[in-house]
C-alpha cells in the first residue's frame, strides 16, 4: 500500500485520544508485511521494527515518531430526548462545532450532527460568540431509549470528514494532524527497506499526543533509542496566519531548530536534504515544540532529537489542509537521513570528557 492510500484510509478511521484502536490496527496491518516485527505497548503505541541492513543487533536504534490520535469529543450524559452532552478531548476549537457532522462510537458507529438553534431563535448578540461546550449537543436522530441501548457515557465522538482534494496536490480531511505524518513514516519505511542501513529503526505510531505527549514519553522510555526524529504537522501560511514561524505549503518539510533539538541532528537532516535534492524549509523554536519530540528528549537520561514539521493550514479544524507532495518529501527526507546515519556519528552525539 502506498503512503497516499494509507493516508486516505487512516483519516477515515476514528482515533480520538485514548481510543486509537482502529487507527492502530490499520497501521499494524500496513507495517506487518514490511517490518521485522510489529509490537504494541501498554498504552497502545504501535512499534514497527526494521533491522539494520546488513543486520546488526548492536547497531544504534533510531526512533521515528508520529501520533495516531486526533482531538475529539466524549459523551458526558444522555439528555432527555436522546441528545448527547459533550466534553472535549484535546484542544477542540468550539468555532467549528455548529452544524458539524460527527460519528458517535457506541456499540456501533452512529452518524450524528452537532445541533444548533435556527437563526430566528438566536439573538444577533449570541451569534457573535462561539458556543460554550456545555450548550452544545449531538443529535443522532433516534429516540432516547434506542440511544441508551447503543451509546454510553464515555463513548468517543469524532469528526466525520474523509479525505477531499483541492487543486494540484492539495488535500484536506480531519485528523491530517497527525495521520499525514504517520503516512510520511510509511513513505520513509517503503524507501528504507530498499536501502542499506547502519541503524535499526523503530517506527512508532504514538498515542495520546494531543492530551500531553503521553505515548511518546512512554514509548521513548521503553525503546531507549539512541536518537529520535518526530514528525508532526506545523502551521502554514493561510489567511490570517503570517507569523515568522509559519511555513509554506508545497515547499517541503520544515526542519526545526532550537532547544528541543540536538544541533548535530539538525545539521544531519539539512545535509540529507541537500545531498538528495529534497526541498525543505526551516523553523526556529524557542522552547517546547508542542510535539512528541518534547517528551522523547527527556526520556530516562535524555535522547538526542530532531523534528520535521509538515506544513498544514487550519490545524484542529475539520478541514486540515496540506500538500500531499510535502508528505511524500517528508518521508523521503526521513529515509535519506536514516540511511546516512553511521554508528560513530551516533556515539558522538554524547561526549565523554573524562
Amino acid at each position: 500500500m502506498d503512503a497516499g492510500a494509507l493516508l486516505e484510509r487512516l483519516v477515515a478511521l476514528p482515533g480520538v485520544s485514548g481510543a486509537e484502536q482502529a487507527v492502530a490496527d490499520a497501521v499494524r496491518e500496513a507495517w506487518a508485511p514490511v517490518c521485522e516485527r510489529v509490537e504494541t505497548d501498554a498504552l497502545g503505541n504501535v512499534i514497527g521494527l526494521l533491522p539494520a541492513d546488513p543486520p546488526d543487533p548492536d547497531a544504534p536504534l533510531l526512533m521515528l515518531a508520529a501520533h495516531t490520535d486526533e482531538i475529539g469529543l466524549v459523551v458526558t450524559q444522555i439528555a432527555p430526548g436522546g441528545f448527547l452532552r459533550l466534553a472535549a478531548i484535546g484542544g477542540i476549537d468550539r468555532r467549528y462545532l455548529p452544524g458539524l457532522q460527527v460519528l458517535v462510537h457506541g456499540r456501533q458507529s452512529l452518524p450524528g450532527m452537532v445541533g444548533t438553534l435556527p437563526p430566528h431563535l438566536t439573538t444577533p448578540e449570541a451569534r457573535t460568540k462561539p458556543l460554550p461546550l456545555d450548550e452544545v449537543y449531538v443529535d443522532v436522530g433516534m429516540p432516547e431509549a434506542r440511544v441508551r441501548e447503543l451509546v454510553r457515557v464515555g463513548d468517543r465522538i469524532s469528526v466525520d470528514r474523509p479525505l477531499g482534494r483541492l487543486l494540484g496536490e492539495v488535500a484536506f480531511a480531519k485528523a491530517m494532524d497527525d495521520r499525514a505524518s504517520v503516512a510520511a513514516l510509511h513513505e520513509a519505511l517503503l524507501h528504507l527497506i530498499r536501502r542499506r542501513r547502519s541503524v535499526r529503526v523503530a517506527f512508532v505510531a504514538t498515542v495520546q499526543e494531543e492530551v500531553g505527549l503521553r505515548g511518546a514519553a512512554t514509548s521513548g522510555y521503553g525503546l531507549q533509542p539512541d536518537l529520535a526524529v518526530a514528525v508532526d504537522v506545523g502551521h502554514a501560511r493561510s489567511p490570517g496566519v503570517s507569523e515568522p514561524d509559519a511555513s509554506d505549503l508545497g515547499k517541503g518539510p520544515v526542519v526545526a531548530q532550537g532547544a528541543n533539538f540536538h544541533p548535530a541532528i539538525v545539521r544531519a537532516l539539512l545535509a540529507a536534504a541537500k545531498s538528495e535534492g529534497i526541498p525543505h524549509q526551516r523553523e526556529y523554536t524557542p522552547a517546547a515544540s508542542g510535539t512528541d519530540a518534547w517528551a522523547i528528549q527527556v526520556a530516562r537520561g535524555g535522547v538526542p532529537c530532531g523534528l520535521l514539521s509538515l506544513p498544514l493550514r487550519y490545524m484542529h479544524s475539520p478541514v486540515e489542509t496540506l500538500d500531499l507532495g510535502d508528505m511524500r518529501e517528508t518521508g523521503r527526507l526521513l529515509a535519506a537521513f536514516a540511511a546516512a546515519v553511521q554508528p560513530d556519528w551516533v556515539r558522538g552525539l554524547l561526549r565523554v570528557l573524562k
Binding site: A19, A42, L43, A87, V153, G154, V211, A217, Y221, G222
Partner: protein, 325 residues
Amino acid sequence: MKELLARLIEAFGPSGREDAVRAVLGAELQGMGLSAVADPMGNLVAVRPGRAGGARILLAAHMDEIGLIVTHVDANGFARFAAVGGISAQTALGQRVRFADGTVGTIGVERLDDPKDLKLDKLFIDCGGPRAAVRTGEMCVMAGGLQADGGRWIGKAMDDRVGCLVLLEAARALRDSPHEVHFAFTVQEEVGLRGARTAGYTADPELALAIDVTATGDTPKARTMDVALGGGAAVKVRDNSLLAHPYVIDWLRGAAERRGIPHQMEVLEYGGTDAGAIHTVRAGVRSGAVSIPCRYVHTPGEMVDAGDVQACVDLLVEALSAPLP
C-alpha cells in the same frame, strides 16, 4: 467503617506533612497482617503477594489533604498564607483552621472595595494573638470532623481519606486473589500527583487504579455530569490527567455487572488523580480509577454516600478476586 473514617478525616495531613495519616494507616495495615514500608517520598506501601497467573497491580489512594502554609506573621500574630493544593479564596474566607498541635484560628479578610477583589492574598489567619504553632513555613488545614446522617457522610478531607478507607477495607475484605497487589497510600497528590509518580516507578506494575473522589452533576445548575450521589461506584473514563485505558474500564465494568454492583460512568472535564501520574511512568501502565462520588470537593463540607463507598469496596474486591480478563 464510619469510626475509622472519622479518625482518618480528623488526622492532620496537608501535602508534605502526612505523618499523622501515615500512622493511622500503618496501624490498620499491621492489624491486617500487612507490613507497610514508607518510601523516600513518604508514600506508605503494603504488598500482598500474588501467585502464578496473577498480575502486579498498583492501587493508589492519597493521604494528603489541601491546606494552607504560613508565609509571614506580623507582630500581632496575624498570619499571611499561601495555598497548599487547590483552595480558593471563596472557600477559605471565614473557615476555621487547625494546626498540627491543635491551635485553631479563623480566616479573616482585609476590607474589600469590590467583592471581586477577593483573593488569597487579601486573607489572613487569626488565632487570637501570637501563637507558637503559627510561624513561617507551618501548615494548617480546614477544621471539620465527620458528621453522618442517613447514609450521607460529611467532613473535610473526604478527598481522599474516604479513598484511603476504601483501599483499607478492600485489603481487609480481599479473601483470595491471584494478583500481587500493591496498596499505596501516596503523598502530595494535591500539589501535583508527586508521590504517585515515584510510587508508580518503584512498583512498576502491569495495571494501576487510583481510588479518589470525583465530582457529581446532581446539584442545582451543576456542570453537566452523569455521576450522582447514591448512583454507585464511579468508573472513570476521563479527567485532565488521564484517559482511562479501555481494558481497565471493561475490566471494572465487567466486574460490576457480574456482581450487580451499582456503578456509573464518570467523565470529569477538569482535575486529575494519582493514575494520571502513574500511567505515564516508565514504558506506560494501563490505568484507570474507581471514584467515590463527592459533592463540594475541596470544601470542609465534602459529602459522600455510604452506599457508594461500599460499592467501591465491593467493586475492587470483585475485580481483584479473579484473574485478569
